[in-house]
Symmetry: D2
Subunit: 334 residues, 4 copies
Amino acid sequence: MPLNVGLVGAGMIGADHARRIGTAVAGARVAAVTDIDPDRAAAVAASCGARTAASDREVVDAGDVDAVLVASWGPAHAESVLAAVAARKPVFCEKPLATTAEDCLKIIEAEQASGRRLVQVGFMRRYDTGYRALKRLVDGGDLGEPLMVHCVHRNAEVPESYHSAMAVQDTAVHEIDAVRWLLDDEITSAQVLFPKRTRNRFDHLRDPQVMLFETASGARVDVEVFVNCRYGYDIRCEVVGETGTAELPPPAEPAVRSAARLSTAVVQDWKDRFADAYDTEIREWTAAAAEGTASGPSSWDGYAAAVVTDAAVRSQQTGDVVPTGIGRRPDFYA
Amino acid sequence: MPLNVGLVGAGMIGADHARRIGTAVAGARVAAVTDIDPDRAAAVAASCGARTAASDREVVDAGDVDAVLVASWGPAHAESVLAAVAARKPVFCEKPLATTAEDCLKIIEAEQASGRRLVQVGFMRRYDTGYRALKRLVDGGDLGEPLMVHCVHRNAEVPESYHSAMAVQDTAVHEIDAVRWLLDDEITSAQVLFPKRTRNRFDHLRDPQVMLFETASGARVDVEVFVNCRYGYDIRCEVVGETGTAELPPPAEPAVRSAARLSTAVVQDWKDRFADAYDTEIREWTAAAAEGTASGPSSWDGYAAAVVTDAAVRSQQTGDVVPTGIGRRPDFYA
Amino acid sequence: MPLNVGLVGAGMIGADHARRIGTAVAGARVAAVTDIDPDRAAAVAASCGARTAASDREVVDAGDVDAVLVASWGPAHAESVLAAVAARKPVFCEKPLATTAEDCLKIIEAEQASGRRLVQVGFMRRYDTGYRALKRLVDGGDLGEPLMVHCVHRNAEVPESYHSAMAVQDTAVHEIDAVRWLLDDEITSAQVLFPKRTRNRFDHLRDPQVMLFETASGARVDVEVFVNCRYGYDIRCEVVGETGTAELPPPAEPAVRSAARLSTAVVQDWKDRFADAYDTEIREWTAAAAEGTASGPSSWDGYAAAVVTDAAVRSQQTGDVVPTGIGRRPDFYA
Amino acid sequence: MPLNVGLVGAGMIGADHARRIGTAVAGARVAAVTDIDPDRAAAVAASCGARTAASDREVVDAGDVDAVLVASWGPAHAESVLAAVAARKPVFCEKPLATTAEDCLKIIEAEQASGRRLVQVGFMRRYDTGYRALKRLVDGGDLGEPLMVHCVHRNAEVPESYHSAMAVQDTAVHEIDAVRWLLDDEITSAQVLFPKRTRNRFDHLRDPQVMLFETASGARVDVEVFVNCRYGYDIRCEVVGETGTAELPPPAEPAVRSAARLSTAVVQDWKDRFADAYDTEIREWTAAAAEGTASGPSSWDGYAAAVVTDAAVRSQQTGDVVPTGIGRRPDFYA
């Protein structure tokens, strides 16, 4: 019996997950697809032999849908996730879990009330081979207690619709989750600094930005976000411990010697950079969902990302160090 | 309708493919399993919800088996493959395709008589991300015409049952296929040199060995085989062209700074090194098999590997440069 | 006629420069040596065939001393340098040029009054092959306008006498000069953050520290200082421009594969790391001194380092962003 | 008292050594210069304050010449070296020591008769920081007994006067010496293979070439020589031991990220690649010469290079494995 997945949202990322389930994941199939654009839903449904549904509610409630994958636009996430939790169906939700911390808390409460973990949030970096190796090194203790983390998040370019707050909400949010996970620590304050702007920018956009975070244990995290760096998609992360350091490896690419240079290609697209991580993410999600539950990034992680991004966006406006006000993680999510 | 796979051989690699089909491949299931050891067959069958069968012939002929995966020991390969071809069922065969060039030729004839490609040989390196990037670079022309290839194939250690000819047949055979594929060229002669032996060896084993190949176009290939190198599993390949060179990337591992060294882990196991390649290999095989055909390394490639390894083994005995005597590739395999 | 050098200060660094002049610099010799410890002066003088002198003043005024090398302790620098300038003799001064910005200004005034550059300050990184290559890349324009610089300065360990302000004055001062030089820009503010302390520390020492600088053009600079990192001496510098980035290369060390690791040695000692830079520095100094003048890091650079380190030390105490108050560089130093 | 050096040969390399002695070597000066082209001798002499001399004999015999540096063309080396040895003056000789093994033996006999080492041959790689680190690793024993050495020697291009035998005599001769020194072992046979030629060549030139050597202890050495590789000057050397391997580090160059590539510059010129090695070589030579003797590569090393290159050139003609016939090293050179 394959796991029947209901897909809410058939945009780029939803379609990509449908393709993934149809090629690289065993024991699952897409049963139903919905989207605010019915044509888009129909196209994706056709590509994977699924039927269309009129709404997220119809997908969630369908008798032949065992688990729900939410890939709609952010403001719609909370409602779909809450519906799935209410139906006691495992649900995978692309980030953000919700666009407000309040909505995240509602999901946390509903999930706890259900008595079991049902929600997995789409922080795919936790499934990347390199990040996992880094996590093992940090956990293994050979680096000693982590004191600092240096991160870089660069994109070749962004479209004009990208605005300054998205540098936090869409971009640095990945580092925010990754660092919390790597250090098993909460971020307690955020600050954003603005270096000289690149002239290869839109007038409305501050780019690059330097973000500074402090954790509950006192570790310091800096994240350079530079989304019009021109040369490619470049993700770096170095954990500095008391006795050693470890760095996320760059993607493996052939070394070429020609024209007086020794060089490797720089990945251009985040989908290529994390293609294997996405595969593993959905594979692990369907495996847990087949057991009626969830693993990996939780509603609490979605909530933590929300309060940290809120603080960083406030700092973009005020220039201040802004406390995140994050509370204690419920034992349910330990 | 999933593709129903019949598994012939339930040893380590067969069991691994069964697990792979059950987790990382969509649209396929293992339907029947056979092995000379019925307990082993039963264990693997149970792990993937398949039934057992009494023989390879029973597997091949089963009405609910759409495609055959041969992972038995080498001397049994040819018979199973010929049976599958006779039944006009797509068949994946772990290397070697057959233990004699004559048997390879029989398969080639039978496959051509069937009118379509049915056989894929398990040279998994062609599915490795790094090798594929290297292939694109060679084909792209930026390196110019390839003149030389330098290869290294090292294992941390081998068991006592490993003997000197296996350095060719089990070890260098991967480089033999990879170089033929990278250069789209045939190997016309082989020679094996014996450096000073490592003392970390068995008395019966010549280790390391240096193998020299020449191709039809005149390119020179050297392969260092060192199967008791102690430090890990290390695969290298550099293509040297008229205007540039390209090297297979090593696996991406975190860089660690501690104890006065900057270091990365060396992979210890070939199954880890090529885990993704195996996944892709079986995924592409099942996709082609679902269409009733095969892609990737062909019977011709299996035959070419056989004649080149035969020549190299003869050179181990005589010290001479031994012609492979390979003929012209039939257009069927173009 | 060799250049006769008068050495003021025969401690570790002074002795090292004497040895350097005696082996790796053509056309110069040490003629006279003084030190507050006469035995130390005598030992170094004997090692290089020089005579001893009773005081820095005696060295500066000696008829057979053409140029002065000041390697005494910091608080004595200004007086020796001013004496040399008054005597119109070229003078090399180890950093700091003076321990107060006021004394730096006095030197600047005296030097300008003399009508020609006479002072070179010992910021040896400007002579390092890697930094010079980085400088050429920045100046060449291929990276575009520099927007950010990320620096790391780690030592394996420091002695107990090392205190928190020295992280700025003795350690980050090298990055302060290097960044000003690389960007041809002045640092206008400084801030120091304190991450969780390493427990491998002395109670009196804040370690590590994160320093943030802003330049006149708006570029942002971060410097991690971690002087008890345990694993070695590690200097990193990445310049991020509008269209590309460039990183200081690590020292070239053989790659070793053994015991399941691929590794290179990490340099342990700053004297080894910058040995060639010191040689080049003194070679270029003696060449300019033979012409009666100076090149390289100037009194202005010594002054700028003083005001920036003053601001950073103040920030260590207050936590605030502290303006450096640096003025306009006199045309004399353009 | 500086060491007075007499320079025989004022071509590119002679002029370079004169410049080196005038800038980067302490305690030495060029006193006299001779060249078959008197204008060239005069120009170099003028650049370093030396006088000219009419012949190598006049240089060697001059009362104010303490040591002789031979940088004339190869066929003239032996006579100058023998004259210096006869005069019991230390002599540095650029490679080759002599153009025939017989002349090398004459020098060895004369030097032994003199009772002390007087001759240093210009194999500058032994002074390269990277090679020295590699040598320490081999000698330190952590790699175990060396079994194989893989070398690459590539030049961007060579002039038309370069012919096939020079691939051995001028190019691989550096690897021949370096490997003998690294392994402390003699080369007992040589063979040269010809891959497909690059079309970026002259008709008269076989390029690339693959050279195979065996040592007295049974180690195998392969050297790829490719002198029109287009992309730059590239020297590689990997020593493979029983328990580990070590590789010569490439030159340290900044890593640049731009235009979708992560790259470093490839050195174009051998003089740049080994600039520091040349400095150290001449510094160590003058230090030993000031003591009336020599260190580093000896006449025996010059002789060994001659017999190995002779064997390799013969193999170029016959295709055979050619024994070098090298005898036992006299204890004098132990």
